[in-house]
Amino acid sequence: MNGTRAQDETREAVARYAAEVRRHLGDLPPDQVDDLTDGLEADLADALADGPHPAAADGGGGPVDVGVRFGAPAAYAHELRAAAGLPDGSAAAARKPWPERVQRLRAAAGRAGAAVRRQPWAEPVVRAATELRPLWWVARAWIGYQAVMWLLIERSALLWQVRPERDGVPSRGVHWVMLLALVVVSVQWGRGRWGAAQLPRLSRAATVVALVLVVPVAWFTYESRFYGPEVSDVRYVEVPAADSRPQDGVWVDGMQVSNLFVYDADGDPLTDVQVYDDRGRPVRTTTDNGWSAWSLPGVEEPWSFVSVPDEDGRSRWNVYPLRGAPYEDFDWSNPTGTSDTAELLDEAPRTPPMPFAKAPAVESATQDAGPGEVASPAPSTASTTAP
C-alpha cells in the first residue's frame, strides 16, 4: 500500500519534471520536442529507481524531489538540447537583444509565471491544457475565420456574394470551406508542419492571440446575433403618420368636411336630411357642439353651426345641410352659464352656400323610383318646419 503510493508520487513527480523540461524546449517544433523527450519519463523513473545520487544523503524517506536528483529542468533541457546539437533557445533569444523595458517586462512576466507554476494546481492545469492542444488549434482557426469574416464585413460593399453571417457559425458552403481550410492550416502548424518550424514565433503568437480573443469574440458574436442585425436586415416600414387614432367627423379624400349637401335623384337640393351610418349611429361632421369655426370654400369669414332640436328636445347634429352663421354673429360669452352652445345673436341660422344649386340628375334612379317614393315632399315640408 505504502509502496504503491510512493510509486504514484514518484510517477507524478517524474511527469511534472518531464513536463517542465518539455516546456523549456517549447521554442522547438513539437515533433522535435517529442523526438528529444520520447521515453524521458521511463529514463527518469529508472534513474530514480537506481537510488539517490551520491549527493543525496537520506534515501527514500521524504517526498521525491526529482529536481535534487536531476537538477533544474531548465538546465536539464539545456544539456539535452546542447548534446543533441540543437540551437539553444536562450542563446537564440540573446542574439537579438530586446529593449531594456521589454526585457524587464519579460523578466517580471517570467517571475510571475514561475510563481504560478509553484502552485500545486499549476502542473495538472498545464498538463490538461497541453493535452487539449488540438482544441486550441481549432479555436485558433476559428479566431482566424472570424478575423477574415470581419474583414469581409468591412468590405461587404465589394463582396456581397460572400458576405458572412455574424453569429459565428458558417452557414454557407464557402464559409465552411474557409473555416475548414483554416483549421487544417492551424492543425498543421500545431504539428510543426507547413512552416511552423521556420516560424515558431508566428505560430505561438497566433495561439496566444487566439487564446486571448476566443472568449470576447465568442461573446461578441453571440450577442450581435441578437442585437446587431445586419444592415440588410433592417427594413423600413412606412406607416401613415395620422394613423394613430381614427378621428371624429366626416372625412373625404383626407380632408375633414364641415357640412353635407344632399340632392335628390333629379339633382335638386334637399334640406333637413337625417344621415345615419350602417349601424344606426348619427353621422356628424362636428362633434364639439358647434364651438369650432369652419372655413368654408369661397366664404371669407369662418362659420359655426347649430343643431336642430328633434321632437324630444334633443339636439341633433346629423341633419344636413347644417345651418349656421358667421363666427362673429355668435355670442361666445355664454352669459347664462347653462348652455353648452353659443347663442346666435340676432338672426336665424342660415344654410351656408351650396356647392351647386342643382346636381346632375340620376337617370336610373328616376326611372326605377316611382314619383310617390321620391322624397320630394321633404324639402318643402322641412323648409317650412325647420325654423
Binding site: D43, A47, L80, A83, A84
Partner: protein, 109 residues
Amino acid sequence: MDTTQLLKGVLDVAVLAVVAEEDGYGYDVVRRLRAAGLAEVGDASVYGTLRRLYSQGALTSYVVPSDEGPHRKYYGINAQGRAMLAAQRKDWREFAGTMTRLLDGEAAA
C-alpha cells in the same frame, strides 16, 4: 582537470560503443557508461547524444511499451553507426597515443 570537458569530445564514440554492444534505452546507456567508469556523464547529455546520433542516421530506434509505466525508447546501432564507430575508434587511438606520448615525454623530460 575538468573531465566533463574531455567527455564532451568523446561522448559520441562512447555512446556508440555502448549501443554497439547491445541495444539500450536512454537510462540503460547512462548506467552502462557509468558502470564503465564515466561517472560524470550527465543523463541529459547522453539522451541528447542518442537523439543526435539517431537523426544523423547512425542509430535505429524503436519503442517498447511497458505494462507498469511509461514506454521506453530503445536505440540500436546500424551499419552506418558501426562505420562511424570504427572511424572514431581509430581517431581516438591515434589521438590518445599522441597525447600519451606527449604527456609521458614531457613528464620524462
